[in-house]
Amino acid sequence: MKTVIVKPERCVGCHQCSFQCAVAHSTSKTSMGAISESILSKPRIRIYLSSGKENFPNKCRHCEPAPCEMACITKAIYRETKSGIVLLNQDRCINCGMCAMACPFAVVRYYPYILNREAAHKCDQCIDRQKEGKVPACVEACKAGALLFDEVNKKMDEDTEKLASLIYLGIRQRVQEPDTFSSLIAYKQQLNEIRRRQS
C-alpha cells in the first residue's frame, strides 16, 4: 500500500503542502474559490520547527492499530478496509478531544466544518484524489522531495541501496560534490551552531 513518506531533511519550509491541502479539502478545489468560501478549509499537514531549527512537516501516519481510532468513543474515526486509510466521519464527531490526546503525532485539530458546528480535522490521505488516479495534494505540491507517495518497504529498499553505494563509493567523494540541498543543510547547520554557541 502506498503512503505519504516524509523526508524532513529535504523540507525547505515553503508551506506549499499546507496550502494545497487546504485547497484540496475545500468545496471549490481552486485557490481563489477556497479562500472565498464561508467556512474556510483548513490544512491537514503543517510544518513546525524542531528545537534544532530544522523544518518538520507533520501529518497523520495512518497508524495500524491507530490510537485515535481506539480512543474514539462514537466510532467517528474508522479504517477504510481496502486502502487502510484512517478516516473520520465528522457528523459522528462529538469534539471530545480524545483522538487528539491519544495521537502520538499531535496531528488532530478542531475547526468548523458546517455552519455552527466544529469537528475533528485530520488527513484523509486525499482518498478522493487517489480514486481519480492522483497523488495526495501535499505530495504533488512538494517540489523539494520532502513528501513522497510510495510503498514504505520499496522506498526503504531504494534508500538502503543508496546508502550502500554511498558507503562503498566513499563518503569523501560525495562531500566534494554537494547538491543544492546539502549546501542548504550545511548552511542551516552552521546557523544552528552559532545559535548554540550564543545560548
Binding site: H15, S18, F19, Q20, S31, L40, S41, K42
Partner: protein, 624 residues
C-alpha cells in the same frame, strides 16, 4: 496529435509540438505542467520577499500568520507586489524608449553610420509638441534638441510629461485630482520602488495610485516616445500586406529571425539582408535567397514598417527552432525565453544577443551600439549564411502554408484611410455602424489555450460591429486566423462589414508592437477631443486575454487610468486581498471612470465588453 489540440488552436504549433516531443525538446507547456501546482501564496499575491526580516506569507485560510514580520497585512503585501509588477513593466517599455532616444540623439550629433531620419514631417510635428522651433533648422539639429527634450521627460525637471498634453483636459483634471499626473518617467518608477520599500507607503490605495502614475509614465512616456521616435527614425507605418505563421520560413533559403522588441537591431538586420553582396554570398552557398522573418514585437515592428513576414508570437518562439530550418535568431530584449538558447543547441540554429542588458546562455553576444550597428548586422548575417551549410535537411519540417495578413495601421494611416480626419469614424460610431472599438492586446500564456483567447474574443467583437485594434502577440493570433485581411469583413456584423468594405480594411487592424499600444491611446484621446468628451465616455474597451508579462500589467493600468474598461483573461496575483480586488473591479470606477474585470472565457469576456459598450453608447445618447 489530439493532446496538442488542447494546447493550441494553431495547426503549425500542433505539428511542431509533435516534432518537439519526437526530438525530445521540452517547451513552455511541459514546464508549466512540471510546475503544477504553482505556489498558492504567490498566486494570491500574499507572499512578500521585499526585506530580509522575511520572506513572509499570509495564511489565506486563517490558521497561520495574518501579518508579515514588519506588520504588513494581506492588503499591503498584495498592493506592494502588484505595484512592483507595474513598475517593472513601465521600466521595461521606458528603457526600450530610452534606447531609441539615444539613437535619435546620436543621429543629431552625427555619431551614427547606420541610422537616419526617415519621417521628417513627424519629426517636426513632435518637435512642435515639445516647443522646439523647426523653421530653418536642420533635421539633425531638431533631432538633437528633441532627443534632449525627451531626456528631460525621463528626469525630474518637469511637472508633467509632454505627451500628457495629448489627452483631453477633463482627463488631465481627473489625474490631477487623483494626484497621478506622471512627472518624470524614471522618477515614477523609482518612486514606486521607494514607496514599496519596507516602512514607506503602507496604505494600499496610496500604493496603487502611485502604480497608476508609474503606468502613465509608460503609456504617455516611455512607450509613446518609443513609438513616435521609431516612426521618425524608421518610417511611419502605412497599410500593406504581409504573411504570418511558421510557413513563412523557406526551405531553400537562409532563414534569419529577429526576436525581441527594439527596431534598432532588427532594422539594421533588414539592411544587411537586403544587401546584394549578402544575397550573392547566400547563392554561393546553395541557397536561393535570404529570408528575414519576425517573432514577437521585433516582428511586429518589422511587419508594420517593412511588411516583413511574421513567424509567430510568444509561444511559437521555441517551436520555430524545432522546424530545423532556422540559421540564425537575433534577439535584443524582453519576452525571450531563456530556454531558446538551450533548444538551439539541439539544432544548427545560431542565436545572437545584441544588447548589453540582455545576455543568455548558449547565445553569442554581438553587441549593437548606435555607432557599430551596421557592421555588427552584416557580421551576423554573414555568419547566418555560412551556417546554411550546417542545416540537416532530414530534420527540417516547415508546417502549413503562410496566411495573408494586412498590417501597418499607424494612427496616421488610419486617419489617412478615413480621408484625413476622424469624422467618418465618428459618424460611423454615431450611426451605430461601428458600435465601438476595442484594443485586444497582450501576450500568450500557456495557462490559456494558445491563441484561443485572442481569436474567439475578436470573432465575437467584430460580429457585434465592434472594430478591433491589435498589437503584440494578438496580431499573430488574429492574422493566422484570417481576421486581418479585408475579406474578413464577411465575419463582421453588417455595419462594420459595410465600413470595412468601403475602406478596404479588415475589421481587426494591426496597429503595432506592445509599445505601440500608445497608438491606441493617441486614437482614443483624438476621438475624445474631436467629440468634446472625456475618454471614459467613449464606447471603448481593452482586453488582454492571454497576458503573462509585467509590461501587460503596466499597459492594463494606463488603459484603465485613461478611462478604458479593461478585461484580463488571467487573474493577476491579487486574490489574497478582498480590498484590492474590490478596488480593481469596481472602486476604480469612482476615480477614473473605468475599472478592471477578469474573465478567462473569451465568450464571456466578449459579453462583458459588448454590454459595457452598449452602456457607454446609451450614456452618449446613441442607439445601442
Amino acid at each position: 496529435m489530439s493532446e496538442f489540440k488542447d494546447l493550441t488552436i494553431c495547426k503549425d504549433a500542433q505539428i511542431m509540438l509533435k516534432k518537439a516531443q519526437e526530438d525530445g525538446i521540452e517547451t513552455a507547456w511541459d514546464r508549466l505542467k512540471k510546475q503544477q501546482p504553482q505556489c498558492g501564496y504567490c498566486e494570491l499575491g500574499v507572499s512578500c520577499r521585499i526585506c530580509a526580516m522575511g520572506p513572509c506569507r499570509i495564511d489565506p485560510f486563517g490558521e497561520g500568520p495574518q501579518l508579515g514580520v514588519c506588520g504588513a497585512d494581506a492588503d499591503i503585501i498584495v498592493a506592494r507586489n502588484l505595484a512592483r509588477m507595474v513598475a517593472a513593466g513601465s521600466a521595461s517599455h521606458s528603457d526600450h524608449g530610452r534606447d531609441i532616444v539615444e539613437v535619435l540623439h546620436k543621429i543629431g550629433l552625427d555619431k551614427t553610420s547606420g541610422y537616419n531620419i526617415t519621417d521628417a514631417v513627424k519629426l517636426k510635428s513632435v518637435a512642435g509638441e515639445y516647443g522646439i522651433k523647426t523653421e530653418g533648422i536642420s533635421e539633425k539639429e531638431i533631432a538633437r534638441q528633441l532627443a534632449e527634450a525627451m531626456m528631460d521627460d525621463y528626469g525630474m525637471k518637469k511637472d508633467m510629461l509632454t505627451f500628457v498634453g495629448r489627452v483631453p483636459k477633463q482627463r488631465i483634471d481627473v489625474w490631477k485630482k487623483a494626484r497621478v499626473v506622471p512627472r518624470g518617467i524614471d522618477r515614477e518608477v523609482t518612486e514606486m520602488m521607494h514607496r514599496t520599500h519596507m516602512g514607506v507607503d503602507n496604505n494600499y490605495v496610496s500604493i496603487l495610485l502611485q502604480a497608476v502614475r508609474s503606468s502613465l509614465a509608460d503609456g504617455y512616456g516611455g512607450s509613446m516616445i518609443g513609438t513616435e521616435l521609431s516612426d521618425i527614425i524608421f518610417g511611419t507605418p502605412t497599410p500593406g500586406m504581409s504573411e504570418i505563421n511558421l510557413g513563412v520560413l523557406k526551405e531553400d533559403q537562409v532563414n534569419i529571425l529577429v526576436h525581441g522588441h527594439s527596431p534598432i537591431v532588427s532594422e539594421m538586420i533588414y539592411i544587411a539582408v537586403e544587401d546584394k553582396e549578402m544575397l550573392a554570398l547566400a547563392k554561393s552557398k546553395g541557397a536561393t535567397g535570404i529570408n528575414l522573418a519576425g517573432l514577437c514585437c521585433s516582428g511586429n515592428e518589422m511587419m508594420m514598417r517593412k511588411k516583413i513576414p511574421m513567424a509567430g508570437n510568444h509561444l511559437m518562439t521555441e517551436l520555430v527552432i524545432v522546424t530545423g530550418a532556422v540559421e540564425a535568431i537575433i534577439v535584443d530584449y524582453q519576452c525571450i525565453m531563456p530556454s531558446m538558447g538551450q533548444i538551439s543547441q539541439c539544432y544548427h540554429t545560431k542565436m545572437y544577443t545584441t544588447s548589453d542588458k540582455a545576455k543568455f546562455n548558449f547565445m553569442e553576444h554581438v553587441e549593437f551600439t548606435p555607432e557599430n550597428a551596421r557592421e555588427q548586422a552584416f557580421k551576423i548575417v554573414r555568419e547566418a549564411i555560412e551556417n546554411y551549410a550546417r542545416r540537416d535537411k532530414n530534420r527540417v519540417l516547415i508546417p502549413d502554408a503562410p496566411v495573408k495578413s494586412m498590417t501597418g495601421f499607424s494612427v496616421e494611416a488610419i486617419v489617412g484611410a478615413l480621408g484625413g480626419t476622424l469624422t467618418p469614424l465618428i459618424d460611423a460610431i454615431n450611426a451605430g455602424k461601428i458600435k465601438g472599438a476595442v484594443g485586444v492586446v497582450g501576450c500568450n500564456n500557456p495557462k490559456i489555450k494558445h491563441d484561443y483567447g485572442h481569436v474567439e474574443l475578436i470573432k465575437g467583437l467584430i460580429a457585434n460591429d465592434i472594430l478591433v485594434l491589435t498589437t503584440g502577440c494578438v496580431n499573430v493570433a488574429a492574422g493566422k486566423a484570417g481576421l486581418q485581411v479585408p475579406e474578413a469583413k464577411e465575419m463582421a456584423g453588417p455595419g462594420l462589414k459595410e465600413i470595412c468594405g468601403a475602406l478596404g480594411i479588415p475589421p481587426s487592424l494591426h496597429v503595432g508592437s506592445c509599445v505601440d499600444n500608445s497608438r491606441i491611446m493617441v486614437i482614443a484621446a483624438a476621438l475624445a477631443n474631436a467629440i468634446g468628451v472625456d475618454i471614459d465616455q467613449l464606447p471603448l474597451a481593452a482586453a488582454a486575454p492571454e497576458w503573462y508579462s509585467e509590461k501587460a500589467v503596466a499597459i492594463a493600468f494606463y488603459a484603465m487610468a485613461s478611462g478604458i474598461y479593461t478585461v484580463l483573461g488571467i487573474m493577476p496575483p491579487i486574490g489574497g486581498s478582498r480590498k484590492v480586488v474590490d478596488l480593481a473591479t469596481s472602486g476604480l470606477n469612482d476615480v477614473f471612470g473605468a475599472c478592471f474585470a477578469v474573465e478567462p472565457d473569451p465568450v464571456k469576456s466578449c459579453a462583458l465588453i459588448t454590454a459595457h459598450i452598449a452602456a457607454k453608447r446609451k450614456a452618449l445618447g446613441l442607439e445601442v
